[in-house]
Subunit: 499 residues, 2 copies
């Protein structure tokens, strides 16, 4: 009870505390439901688990909107219970990924910064219910978020009713690390006033009308933390190429000495790049990104990073312990924002973000596929990569030159799905080298990408394709009968290499 | 001489007046040259013609940067003289288009709002010379632009030397219609303070260090005006669909009664849409677009349009006369801005622009090709469509359902080139109807596009493809061996229809 009063600081709301099974009854068939969560951090856990349980006894379908990916208690449990009809804007969970690819769940893969405004514009319909994890409710009824912000501020503003999950595994000391700003909608919108990575432009809480809070559930289920992705040799080589490319930009006065704010995707390459910066001669770095990972703590501890802005704190188990032990220190240098701000193209372009994201495959003209294997099978989604790629100072994509032990070339004649067009891709990096596509015509790009990025096994094949395409002619030479033939060959034989 | 002193208000610059042939000698082989001009409006004419003449006698290659397309005196004459090595960011001229498709000119097709900042960031190298048309030079040496602004402010700022073409066919009364604002570069950039279509945030002149003005050429060659594109029946039907779609958005409270600022591409459909609005019950409309065409004058005269913001004034011969006769009136309601502002995603998103652009082809999942016929042959370029499509409140693409008398379906299984990804396309309209893709999964989108947008002749064929693709499976069902087979069939037989 002591815990409860500490966490629920508006006494009239104490009567709204109920078990998750009771709160889950507020969910009705056919509802649109928006939840907190961005990565497996800060998403509701107890109510979704209770809802999945309830769905064993009755037919129940909802449309689920989140910040981005969430933990298995939400996407996994509800998918396996058959509860999710429609899902947006991003996911990384195995159960729901399979359901999406079997088209049992209708999935809408959106640019993450656009999701909240399109929700407010009414493009996805009415929002019936928001379910938000919080570390506390203030005396005014406002919510102190936990380890992510995502779209929670907009969902809480829009929804008829709000269920709050107070998570006691999340430390109260997180308060003060959040900066909540919701832009007004056109025609009333004003410039978003953020001009520095460390600036505070909003409130440390999510504004919430206490009359909308229909249930409060106390839980201590921890975030479904991610294990650290190990850095392999291929990632290390890509990171080395990327760091020397950045050094070269400084040398030619195209970047200041301390670079510009970095945006970094997640995974092995991102870890290798940030780890490389720990041991580099860079100083006073800044991060303006989505996800704050363990490597950010390393950079802060090494004194290399001045400040980090993101929308989620997604640490390993060890990282969580490390963060909690030193939380008062870290929270001076880390800020979490709504994804509408962390990913906003207005801000990314103003600050001059260096966008570093991972491609699934790239083609010889610089188009990038980030989402669909062989043009069809969804991996995760575009996430924030489109927000940043289209607005960054410098847009860099990394990919290993091959996948599946060389059976797949990640450099192909034509990508099987386009998430980032040739107009927005400045640099492609594989373990073999760097293709700087700026100020290059399509033919110049093709030669650079083949020579610098493709795996040597595939270079002659790509050159053959280009030669054949050149005989066909045009500004972007293509030989259409074979443009997707590598993918077809993989589907038929299990390898892109000719038999 | 009277004309000259009226137009060149800084007396020490009078000695810089020289014939175009003399000014053209400032151009050296290998130079990067940036010119004024956006559409065939406000581009330099006399110096390029003299340069083309000079190139008959000596080997001369330059890299040419402009605002967007320009008139034949520049792109046409210099291409035919073999002077252009590399060209960015957009063109619409027959001579250079052919040279680009023969790869005699290396062409870089860029998002127009990004061109000036990338120039300043050094991505295209050093700018040796700017050639700018102006109606006058102020006593301080600043330039009063003529019928377009484009990238002139950035080119004048960057270049070592400036040649000014004073064009006496352009009325002095244009002064006051321009609003020049150049954002600072990161990390010093501030929010662009524009919050209303009619706001002035900069200076009425292009700042220019008079010491950089190396030559002044007086000319009276008129803008290579465009004939009005007639509205055909197919365009009219698309415009009708679009206008009733907008009415429906208002009805469902997804748009205010006077809509939000309109951005409109050029051509027959754009003309039909804007003409349709003249006769509609819309009032207090606003335009935040690139190109101000005759239809804008119609809307202003009809009292339907409150204000128009663009970067160029591109009128027909009749439109030019009409504009000049009433210039003092029109200039109260029209403003021209640098393309970095007119096309800026920060502003388009803030104002909530409704982006209406033309597709060359769209696929059943909502990807749009705006640039390359059969994936290879460049028509014009992406222009501003990417700036607006990625940042608009609502992104609409229109296309006739077929081309070449039905031999080409503009709705295909997979587009042969992607300029606008499925993530950024909200609505597709053909003469057959509207596909509203918002909140729709790929399969839902495919069904809508086939049923509402494809030509009836092609619907069964698209349905066949979809059925085949569904047997293959995945989130975005594709049958890759036939994904581009329609384009291949057209290349082989002259028609996408099976023999």
């Amino acid at each position: 009870m002591e815990v409860t009063e500490n966490r629920i600081q508006r006494s009239e709301l104490l009567e709204k505390v109920m078990p998750a099974t009771e709160a889950a009854k507020l969910v009705k068939n056919g509802m649109n439901i928006g939840t907190s969560g961005f990565t497996p951090a800060g998403y509701p856990k107890a109510v979704p688990l209770a809802l999945a349980e309830r769905a064993r006894e009755e037919q129940l379908k909802i449309n689920l909107w989140t910040g981005a990916s969430v933990g298995d208690e939400l996407d996994g449990a509800l998918t396996r219970a058959g509860v999710i009809a429609k899902r947006l804007p991003y996911q990384t969970n195995k159960s729901i990924r399979n359901a999406i690819n079997e088209r049992k769940v209708q999935y809408i893969d959106l640019n993450l910064s656009q999701t909240p405004q399109q929700a407010r514009y009414g493009f996805f319909g009415h929002l019936d219910l928001a379910i938000a994890e919080a570390v506390a409710i203030t005396p005014e009824g406002n919510l102190i978020p936990s380890t992510s912000i995502g779209n929670t501020p907009t969902f809480v503003q829009m929804a008829d009713k709000v269920i709050v999950e107070i998570n006691t595994s999340q430390p109260l000391e997180l308060e003060g690390m959040h900066d909540i700003y919701i832009p007004a909608d056109p025609p009333a919108r004003q410039p978003i006033p953020l001009t520095r990575v460390d600036e505070q432009i909003g409130t440390p809480y999510i504004p919430c009308d206490p009359g909308k809070i229909a249930a409060i559930v106390i839980t201590d289920i921890q975030d479904d933390v991610r294990p650290l992705v190990p850095i392999n040799e291929v990632s290390q080589r890509m990171a080395d190429h990327l760091i020397s490319f950045l050094h070269n930009e400084i040398k030619h006065n195209r970047l200041p000495k301390n670079l510009l704010p970095l945006q970094s995707g997640v995974g092995s390459v991102a870890n290798a790049v940030l780890a490389g910066m720990v041991n580099s001669d860079f100083n006073d770095l800044e991060l303006y990104s989505e996800v704050i990972q363990d490597s950010v703590l390393d950079l802060l501890d090494a004194g290399k990073l001045r400040f980090a802005s993101g929308t989620s704190l997604t640490l390993s188990e060890k990282g969580v312990r490390r963060f909690k032990e030193n939380i008062r220190n870290y929270r001076q240098k880390i800020i979490l924002r709504p994804q509408e701000i962390s990913n906003n193209p207005e801000i990314a372009r103003r600050l001059g973000v260096i966008a570093m994201n991972t491609a699934l495959e790239a083609d010889i003209y610089g188009n990038v596929n980030s989402t669909h294997v062989m043009g069809s099978r969804m991996i995760n989604g575009i996430g924030g990569s489109g927000d940043f790629a289209s607005s960054a100072y410098l847009t860099i994509f990394t990919t290993a030159s091959t996948a599946r032990d060389g059976a797949i070339s990640c450099v192909v004649p034509m990508v099987s799905h386009v998430d980032h067009t040739e107009h927005n891709v400045h640099v492609i990096i594989t373990e073999w080298g760097v293709a700087d596509l700026r100020n290059k015509s399509p033919l110049e790009r093709a030669r650079l990408i083949i020579d610098h990025c493709a795996h040597p096994d595939y270079r002659p094949l790509l050159q053959d394709y280009l030669d054949k395409a050149l005989r066909k002619g045009g500004h972007i030479p293509h030989y259409l009968p074979e443009a997707l033939s590598w993918h077809v060959r993989f589907q038929e034989t299990g390898s892109m290499k000719p038999v």
